[in-house]
């Protein structure tokens, strides 16, 4: 075996996304549009915006990530590509990791890039914006990894989209709390180290556990 299954799958997913640009841009467009509506609805008071900004950006990031999760495996399942991946000599862990990584590159990374813009919109300080970006850098892989487990578990089920939300959203709450909490702490002039450490620990735990769970879920869903 000379091919690297991880890079083969990631490259293919990135190439497919490049061919379907509108679909690929949907999460980041949703993220920007949804978060931009809040200052219009809540009002332009800077103090209020600074207070609610981190939470809103994080919730919008979470929802934007969920948008593209239902299609993470469903297309490959429908056209037989997923069967071929599972039949290859690459382990299910490699396949689940590659799919989650490609999802993060296509969804999480653009959210991180767009987040400073939203930080400015919510009148955040430079430090708070940097922290927001850093928390999203730590947190969005968690969302992609947990989401990939949910997507694998609900593969082929009716109402998979709703089930996926019900399964994954509660699991993402700790990341949401520590992610937005870190930015709030920095904005209040306190240290965000505790929040960031917990977010880092969550990321580590998810990186270690989610691909294993995703691989098992794929085997169950395709058997």
């Amino acid at each position: 075996m000379t091919s690297n299954g991880f890079s083969v799958i990631v490259q293919r997913d990135l190439r497919l996304a490049a061919r379907r640009r509108i679909d690929a841009l949907l999460p980041v467009v949703f993220f920007i549009v949804a978060a931009s509506l809040f200052p219009l609805g809540v009002g332009p008071e800077p103090q209020v915006l600074r207070q609610i900004g981190p939470g809103i950006v994080w919730v919008c990031a979470l929802l934007a990530t969920m948008l593209s999760l239902t299609s993470l495996y469903s297309g490959d399942h429908a056209d037989g590509s997923l069967e071929q991946m599972l039949l290859s000599s690459h382990s299910g862990v490699v396949i689940a990791s590659a799919k989650a990584f490609a999802h993060w590159v296509l969804t999480g990374l653009p959210l991180i890039v767009a987040s400073p813009l939203l930080g400015l919109l919510f009148d955040m300080s430079g430090d708070a914006i940097s922290t927001l970006c850093f928390t999203l850098l730590l947190g969005t892989p968690i969302l992609s990894l947990l989401g990939s487990v949910g997507a694998a578990l609900t593969l082929g089920l009716r109402s998979a989209g709703v089930l996926l939300l019900l399964l994954v959203l509660p699991l993402c709450i700790p990341a949401l709390i520590f992610g937005s909490g870190a930015v709030v702490a920095v904005d209040a002039g306190m240290s965000a180290r505790g929040h960031l450490s917990l977010l880092g620990a969550l990321l580590l735990l998810t990186v270690l556990g989610a691909p294993l769970a995703g691989a098992a879920a794929l085997r169950i869903s395709t058997a």
């Binding site: 293919r12 061919r19 069967e83 039949l87 058997a223």
Partner: protein, 211 residues
């Protein structure tokens, strides 16, 4: 080195309360072609999935050289499974789709090998066309071009390979099957059409009625 024998012993597979087959035995040694027959819904595809290692039986076992499939070290690299679904992405070109499958399965994914394989299947002129623009028969040809990349004797598990193919396409697949059997590979396939292969005599395995 001789290819191991694929053996199914006492296979039972249920869908709900309904047994698609029970106590099924079959043996596929190296160099043999097995034609799996049966009416619609008798479990041909399910049996192929069991033999490919994609699903587990309710009872019985499938072995490769006497070792259970999950424990057989070389089974994943020696088996080529082409399902009814072609495993091609609409947004990739025929060339890219084949390249992905070849690289995924550790086969020769060099441009020369891929061009040759697509040419063999008569898809040279359409190799840069997006899969979505191809006809059913052309898509099937691209999926089956994987067979033209095979160099070593292995196990081919093919679900209705002749579906949507014209006479020329069937001829090419027959030639690939003969070549594969001659180098010591083994093949199990389903087909609703009578086999027209002349260079080998298929073992016929009829699936009994469901209970």
């Amino acid at each position: 080195m001789t290819l191991p024998t694929l053996r199914a012993e006492g296979l039972t597979y249920r869908r709900g309360e309904h047994a698609l087959f029970a106590g099924l035995n079959l043996e596929l040694p190296a160099g043999c072609l097995m034609w799996l027959r049966g009416h619609n819904g008798r479990g041909k595809t399910s049996l192929l999935r069991l033999l490919a290692g994609l699903a587990l039986p309710d009872s019985g076992r499938v072995t490769w050289g006497g070792v259970k499939l999950a424990d057989a070290p070389d089974f994943a690299t020696q088996r080529t499974y082409i399902a009814h679904a072609n495993a091609l992405k609409d947004d990739l070109t025929a060339y890219e789709a084949l390249q992905f499958l070849a690289a995924l399965h550790g086969r020769d994914a060099t441009p020369a090998a891929l061009h040759n394989a697509l040419s063999r299947l008569g898809m040279k002129q359409r190799q840069r066309a997006p899969v979505r623009t191809l006809s059913q028969g052309q898509r099937r040809r691209v999926a089956l071009a994987r067979l033209a990349l095979e160099r070593a004797p292995g196990l081919w598990v093919l679900d209705e390979p002749f579906d949507a193919l014209d006479v020329d396409g069937i001829g090419v697949i027959n030639a690939l099957l003969e070549q594969h059997l001659a180098r010591g590979g083994s093949v199990i396939l389903t087909s609703h059409q009578a086999l027209s292969i002349t260079g080998a005599t298929p073992q016929v395995h009829d699936l009994p009625g469901a209970t």
